[in-house]
Symmetry: C2
Subunit: 358 residues, 2 copies
DNA sequence: TTGTACGCGTTATCAT
DNA sequence: ATGATAACGCGTACAA
């Protein structure tokens, strides 16, 4: 006895002896109905297993209860964390999450935004603020509220962090330890304002200390552990070998640690390594990684709240900067310290995991 | 000069001097039109910046060009990998990906499936095959084609791997090295058939070798690095300390390695550790992790192809098992070998990264 | 080859 | 408090 078709408003209305308008109201504005009719309609609806059709609802109301998000890659710890929280926040609010990724290709991002908008999303979440004018125009002309994550263009709402300050924090930490020769491994700078800002922050801190980042002391590598290893091996070849390496993301910094260890170069005794992000793993590598905590989960949930606020009522386009802080662990130490007190540190985080957010 | 409203079929039709039906056909069935009218309509459409309304299209056609996927967690390397590939495959086919997660809570999964179905998805992708009857009924009665990933219920299509064999592969490897006391750290078994099957495979291999997994030699822990550390520390307290530990997922196995190192217990000299999954990181921890390669990205893309096939035309409900294989690295060795040839191995993967899939 | 007209399941605006 | 009915934008017989 297969039901030929899913029950519609009309079916419920007929069965309950009311009009379809009443049934519709029973779901969207229950207050307007008399208690007994409301009760009756609801009973029939659940008996028939009525489910409102989102497509029809979207067509009639102009709203789809759907939020689109476009991120560089899905398989990155930080984006995955924020996605997870976005998803949770949105579904709690009865919204669905439409996901697209572009792997740092602006054209792919454009296409993704285009598809998402065509789909009739009620709000859009993007990562970063640097993209071709064409993409921004697409967004603006659609009239769909947009929120940026991590960092963003000043004209549009943003939930993020001060990436420049993140860079300053790590650099200052190393400087205060006494390091003079500091090298940096970033991800590709093109199409990635987070990376650029972090690097700028590092340069700024070095500058204030009267130092400069010499040309050879910066290398761009893929945002991965192998990328970090490769970058590290390049820096280790330098005639004037640095005493500290900053990876502008933890994944890269971890790669640097791995490479140092593989070469028998003890971290932090012979080489300090620091990152930015504070992903879960960073507390567990050996030695545990000094880094800057970026609240990626909070970014996700806050961004979600922000879009929702923008869709209903007119929230502001302000930029919200979430707090960040240096997390000092055991991958950094004073340069070439001849004293023996450092070897205690050449181990995985021994009990100090409470300093982790996870 | 803000456009009051997005252009519709009617606008294009009027401007091009044809009927809306013609415009509609120009987009969905171009073959039915004369070349010149087709050309004209297309010109007008692009000039006006016409974008078909998916909601209206969905309502009229009954198809939404949308695929829903429900996974346990977004911030897990393996699921993120497969999601990434699903997303790519689907968007190449003009489909959108609707994502939901439930964090291993069956009720949350039910709710997610419910919302997704109400949204009018054309296909559904789930992870694993164990879930309450109510959830399956929801899916079945909706008539929406469904594909399972990783492993699944025999009644429905599935793209996955033989998780039992994965368990057998690691266990056999350790047995062949001469280990007799093998302990296992799994994730929570409840609501997770992947974990159960892998454990079963391990038990089976042990059984065939005349061994049994004693009660104390198995512990369930969270699917995380800290979970692995905790599980490891419990196993190390055992009176009859094991010589090898299997983590049924790499994340847990890595946690075990970290814990061993933190305690000064050399891996693999004093303790062999192996995992299952072959996530990117596993090739880069020290020592690099012996594991079983699970093609998570391929699972994602194949699952995507499968749902698409099921939506159009009637594909089969077969189970596809993708190939898996043992990846032997440096975290496993013969038990308590007194010979000194093992210390070479106590380092990160030194150049053998080519054995990685990443 | 192209046009007409109806239906898809809701929401929203009027009436009552 | 409830009912009738017009949009919403598109697909698709059916007609021409």
């Amino acid at each position: 006895m297969p039901r030929a078709r899913k029950p519609s408003l009309m079916d419920v209305a007929r069965e309950a002896g009311v009009s379809i308008a009443t049934v519709s109201r029973a779901l969207s504005q229950p207050d307007l109905l008399r208690a007994d009719t409301l009760e009756r309609v609801r009973a029939v609806a659940s008996r028939l297993g009525y489910r409102p059709d989102r497509a029809a609802r979207a067509l009639a109301s102009g709203r789809s209860n759907t939020i689109g998000v476009v991120i560089p890659t899905l398989n990155s710890p930080i984006f995955a964390d924020s996605l997870q929280e976005m998803q949770r926040t949105l579904s709690d609010a009865g919204y669905q999450l439409l996901v697209a990724s572009h792997e740092y290709d602006p054209a792919a991002e454009f296409a993704a935004v285009d598809r998402l908008l065509a789909h009739g999303i009620d709000g859009l979440v993007l990562v970063g603020g640097t993209r071709p004018d064409a993409t921004w125009q697409l967004v603006v002309s659609s009239g769909v509220p947009v929120v940026q994550m991590w960092c963003g263009h000043p004209d549009y709402a943003c939930v993020g962090v001060d990436n420049r300050r993140a860079g300053r924090l790590v650099a200052s930490h190393l400087l205060s330890l006494g390091h003079q020769r500091i090298a940096v491994i970033t991800g590709p700078l093109r199409h990635n304002d987070r990376q650029r800002e972090r690097l700028q922050g590092i340069k700024q801190a070095l500058g204030e200390a009267g130092l400069a980042l010499s040309a050879g002391c910066h290398t761009e590598q893929p945002l991965s552990v192998p990328g970090g290893r490769l970058g590290c091996s390049i820096l280790l070849e330098l005639a004037d070998r640095p005493t500290a390496i900053i990876g502008t993301v933890d994944v890269i910094a971890i790669g640097a640690i791995v490479e140092c260890r593989a070469r028998g170069l003890p971290v932090p005794q012979q080489m300090s390594v620091a990152g930015i992000d504070n992903i879960e793993l960073s507390a567990h590598v050996a030695p545990s990684l000094t880094t800057v905590d970026i609240p990626s989960m909070k970014i996700g949930s806050e961004a979600a709240h922000r879009v929702l606020a923008l869709t209903t009522g007119t929230a502001s386009r302000d930029h919200v900067l979430l707090p960040i802080e240096l997390v000092e662990r055991y991958s950094t130490a004073r340069p070439s310290s001849p004293s023996g007190d450092a070897d205690r540190r050449n181990r995985a985080d021994d009990g100090r995991t409470d300093r982790s957010k996870h």
